[in-house]
């Protein structure tokens, strides 16, 4: 593997999880979750705190990362989102509410970084998580382990959504909330579980991304347009589309920067985030429904079922 591919894989796996998190929450609750930014950053800080203070490998803290993200999701649901969903608030209001939550979390992250500096004499504002990694088959372990974790996690999620009763009930609620309610499915629980899963996914994604970039309190804030770009590229109609979209955004960024900087010179590095955004803009120009609007989605459909709201 070339160096850009290794980091690209790590980074893209992280983006795939965060974009999947945004998509999942959007198709269940119509909420565009801005707080994914801070949830991701918090995910990174949980892993960082673990390795920096208690030692070991970053990977062993991932369950904790997931749990913490879920906790943030639960707080947001009960504190904010639930009331607005019952009020049938507009999409923009839902989005703004998560933005408010995100900013509060961001301030907590900044304070936590101060706290780490002060109490443990760490440097939490410029962290290279790579230094805690080890080598596997002559590669950075992250480039192999993280995609595997992502695939295992997504397979588990897929099994949950197709094989368990509650997972099927979640899909039923996504497709037709009224009929699901009339069948006795408690939408409240469905929303809660979707917040739990998507919060955990966001945090896990943040912990992944920190293995490929410099970890800082604002890393979520700077990458959130890309997470959204991934979700939008995926078409916002299927979870798998979102995951694929995030992955593509991440890989394009790394591949594009690598080749363009070879062709045009290193100044391209500064504009790296422009590359995936151009990809998104071009895709939207030709396929306003994102990846789901490309015939490719026929293959996706066999994985995910049909578009939302299809049928009678």
């Amino acid at each position: 593997m070339t160096p850009w591919m290794a980091s690209g894989l790590v980074y893209a796996s992280g983006l795939a999880l965060t974009a999947g998190s945004i998509t999942l929450l959007y198709i269940v609750t119509r909420t565009f979750n801005f707080a994914v930014a801070s949830m991701a950053t918090f995910g990174f800080y949980v892993a960082y705190t673990g390795v920096a203070i208690y030692g070991g490998l970053p990977y062993q803290y991932y369950p904790l990362v997931f749990l913490f993200g879920s906790f943030l999701g639960i707080v947001c649901y009960y504190g904010l989102n639930r009331h607005l969903l019952y009020r049938q608030a507009a999409e923009i209001t839902l989005m703004m509410s998560t933005l408010g939550y995100d900013l509060v979390l961001l301030s907590f992250i900044q304070m936590y970084a101060d706290f780490l500096t002060h109490t443990y004499r760490l440097f939490p504002r410029r962290v290279t998580m790579n230094t805690y990694d080890f080598e596997l088959f002559g590669e950075r372990a992250a480039a192999i382990i993280l995609p595997i974790i992502a695939i295992v996690f997504l397979t588990a999620l897929h099994m949950f959504l197709t094989k368990t009763k509650f997972g099927v009930a979640m899909r039923a609620t996504i497709e037709n909330p009224i009929l699901a309610g009339a069948s006795g499915i408690n939408s409240d629980k469905v929303y809660l579980v979707s917040w739990v899963i998507s919060g955990g996914m966001a945090s896990l994604g943040g912990a992944f991304m920190a293995m490929a970039m410099t970890g800082s309190p604002t890393m979520g804030m700077f990458t959130i347009p890309l997470m959204f770009a991934g979700a939008i590229l995926g078409g916002l109609t299927s979870l798998y589309g979102g995951i694929l979209g995030g992955f593509m955004i991440g890989m394009t960024e790394y591949a594009g920067v690598f080749y363009l900087s070879q062709q045009l010179g290193p100044w391209v590095l500064g504009y790296r985030m422009g590359i995936p955004l151009i990809l998104m803009a071009v895709t939207l120009l030709f396929f306003p429904r994102g990846l789901a609007g490309i015939p490719l989605s026929k293959y996706l459909k066999s994985l995910s079922g049909k578009k939302r709201g299809d049928g009678v």
């Binding site: 009331h83 939550y101 907590f108 900044q110 804030m221 422009g274």
Partner: protein, 395 residues
Amino acid sequence: MSSEKMNGIKFDPREFFLRREVMVIIVILALLTFLYSSRGVNIILTIFIDFAVFAIITMSLNLETGYTGVPQFGRVAAVIIGAFAVGAIPGRIMAAMMGLPSGLEYASDTVNFRLVPEITALLTTSYLYSLLFLLGSLAIAAVCGAGIGWLISRPAIRLKEAYLGISLLAFGDFFMWVGHNWTGLVGGSVPVNVPDPFRIFGGMRFTIIVLVIFVIAFLVFLYLQKLTKSPFGRSLRMIRDNDVSAGAAGKNIVSVRTQSLVIGAAIAALGGGLYVLYVSSVASIGFTRLTFTFWPWAFMMLGGIGSNIGVLLGVFLLSILRTMIVIFRYQWFGFLTVFGIDPLWLEFTLLGAVIIIVILFMPHGLVPEKIEPMLPKSRVRRVLERRQLAKEGAK
């Protein structure tokens, strides 16, 4: 409601003081008095400048979001363009006219710090030069802003709701990165100085700036009040409330929305340009999504989406609170420093908390949008009187 009250003939002091606008103004005045007595006049002037600059930007946001229904999450883009235009263009024009280097090297810090004082020196020789420079800068900012507003509106305008918001956010960020990296424009991460048209006033500079920005903010306010009451403003609200029926009524939705985005971007760029002239340097790092998109959103939501007066009050109140956190952070939140935490971060907490509280408990803000008749008050009164007469006649 009796017709007497509607005509405003009878003045009820109790009702007057219980009106939300009045209550907010009283709170603002109380806070200002408190700040004045404890910190002196300079802090008040700083708040005024903050208020005026952000009022311009937030009113432009309110035009696009409140009146047109476009979730403008990329406000920072137009502000940046305004700021960069003022930072890059008028200075270069002056330099070219004076026979100084005006190409890409203008922005490099070794050249820039010698060039700009020379230009400023020329400006201080004459009030006319200063005035022309000020007006020219603002015109350039507005034109560039309008251009960028049009450019951004092209791919985005046909998208809907949250989709549109996210795309605008992404475009805003794109311009942010361009500013941070394109050193030839305004120096990238190194600040570029801007010739100062207010230097001519010497010690009065600060006061004059406050006055000028205030006057411009007031003009923008008047213009927007007029615009939103015009037939164009009616089309905007019609499209916001129901774009399908507006389309059916023969409104060209895309064109009306584009116009609104262009006007909004021009005004926001004006705000950005004024800010740069006030600071007299452009540091592209300072123009972040947080400061120039999310704060204006919080201002607007607190004040009341779709109400210009509300927006002004929201900006004022929140600017004061924000300044107070910065000033009194060690006094009030000193306990945080025990853990090594800088209380400055509470600014973000305040911003987030305001957004959350407004959404949960005051969805329409301090001064909710009023469903007003489109005619001036005097004519409404005349119509009502005529109707009253007709009714009595019928009896």
